[in-house]
Symmetry: C2
C-alpha cells in the first residue's frame, strides 16, 4: 500500500508517518518509483504499536525507539527481555538510580528477603519502591508502608499472569513484543482495575455511603 | 519559622515556595512584619505533600491544586473521597471519557458482571481498562486480554489493603489525605512491586536464564 493508504488504514496522518520514517521508528517501505514506496501489513502493525506506546503508554518518542530496538534485536534471553522492557519504561524520575541508600532502600531489601523473592539490585522496581516508601515517611504517612504485604501478594498474582501470557507465545521475538507491550500497557490496566476494585470494596465495607450514589 | 527556614527544612528553594504561595497551593503564613510571615509545622507538611505529588506522583501543578482542595474540604463521605482522588489522577488521556462504546467497554462491563463487582459507569477505571483492551486488540495482541482474571485477583488484594489502611485513620480529613496520597503514590509502588515480582517469577520459571546474570 502507498503511504496515503497506510495513513488511512492506521488513522495516523501522513506527516506523522514521515516523521516516524525519518526517526527510524518505522522501517522504510519497498521503493517502487522515485518518491514512492510500498508498505505492507508489518508496517501497519508497527505504526499501531507506536501509537499504543505513545497514546496509552504515554512514552516519549526516544523511549519508543529504545523499545522498538529491543523488539527488533534477535535471540534475546527472556529475563534480559524483561530487563529491557522494564528499563524502557524506567526513565521516569521514579525509577532513576538513587544517589545513596535511604531508609526506603533498606526497607525494600528487608521486605524482599522476607518474601523470599529473587530480585537483582539493579531492578528498577527497587528504586521506585524505595522512593515511594521514603515519600510516605517524609509526608507524614508512615502507616502507608504497612500496605506492603497486601500489595506484594497482589503484585505476585499479577506477575504470574504476565509470565503465563508471555510463555504462551511462540518465539522470542514475539515474547519480547508481548513483554514490552504488556509491561507498558499493563501498568495502565492494573491502575484501572485498582480503581474499580477500590469502589467495589469501599461499597462493601462502607455500605452506608451507597445512598449518596 | 521564616520562609528561609521553611526552605531549609523542606529542601525546596524559596522561589518555589513563593510560587506555591502565589498559586495558593500553600496557605499564607501568619504575617509578622511587612514582607515577613511565620510558618509552622502544618506548612512544612503541606510543602512535603506537594513535592511528593509532583516528584513521585508526577502530577502537574493544576492537578495538585485539585487534590489539595479535596483534602481541605471538610466532611466528605468516604466513597466520594475515593471518587475525588481517582478523578484527580484521572486527567491523563488514559481515563478521559470515551466518545463512544467500544468492544473494550463491552468487555469491561462483561468482566465486572462476571466478577460480581459493584462499579459505577463513571469510574475512571472503566474507561482506562477499555482503552487498554482496545489497544491490545488494535496492535495485534488480543492474547493480552486473557490476563484479565489474574490482574483482577491481584487488584482486589491491593484494593483490600488500600481500604484497610484508610479505615485505620481517625477522621475523614485524615482519611481523605490517605486516600489521595495512597492512590497517587500507590500506583507507583504497585508498578515497582510488579517489576520485582516479574524478575522473581521469571527466574523461577526460566531458571536456565539465571546463568546470564
Amino acid at each position: 500500500m502507498k503511504i496515503s493508504e497506510l495513513s488511512a488504514a492506521s488513522g495516523v496522518p501522513v506527516a506523522t508517518l514521515k516523521f516516524y520514517l525519518r526517526e527510524q521508528l518505522l522501517p522504510a517501505g519497498r521503493a517502487t518509483k522515485v518518491n514512492q514506496a510500498d508498505y505492507d501489513e508489518s508496517h501497519l502493525r508497527r505504526v499501531q504499536l507506536i501509537r499504543a506506546l505513545v497514546d496509552v503508554g504515554s512514552l516519549p518518542v526516544a523511549t519508543v525507539r529504545e523499545v522498538l530496538t529491543a523488539i527488533d534485536t534477535p535471540d534475546l534471553p527472556l529475563t534480559w527481555v524483561f530487563g529491557v522492557a522494564q528499563l524502557a519504561v524506567s526513565d521516569a524520575s521514579l525509577y532513576a538510580p538513587m544517589e545513596e541508600e535511604t531508609a526506603g532502600t533498606e526497607a525494600v531489601h528487608a521486605a524482599i528477603e522476607r518474601l523470599g523473592w529473587h530480585v537483582s539490585p539493579g531492578n528498577p522496581g527497587v528504586q521506585g519502591a524505595a522512593r515511594v516508601l521514603d515519600s510516605y515517611e517524609r509526608i507524614g504517612h508512615p502507616e502507608l508502608a504497612q500496605i506492603w504485604d497486601g500489595y506484594a501478594a497482589g503484585a505476585e498474582l499479577i506477575a504470574r499472569a504476565d509470565l503465563a501470557t508471555v510463555a504462551a507465545r511462540d518465539d522470542v521475538q514475539d515474547m519480547a513484543e508481548t513483554v514490552v507491550v504488556g509491561t507498558v500497557l499493563g501498568d495502565a490496566l492494573i491502575a484501572s482495575l485498582r480503581r474499580m476494585a477500590q469502589e467495589h470494596i469501599s461499597n462493601q465495607q462502607f455500605p452506608a455511603n451507597r445512598s449518596a450514589e
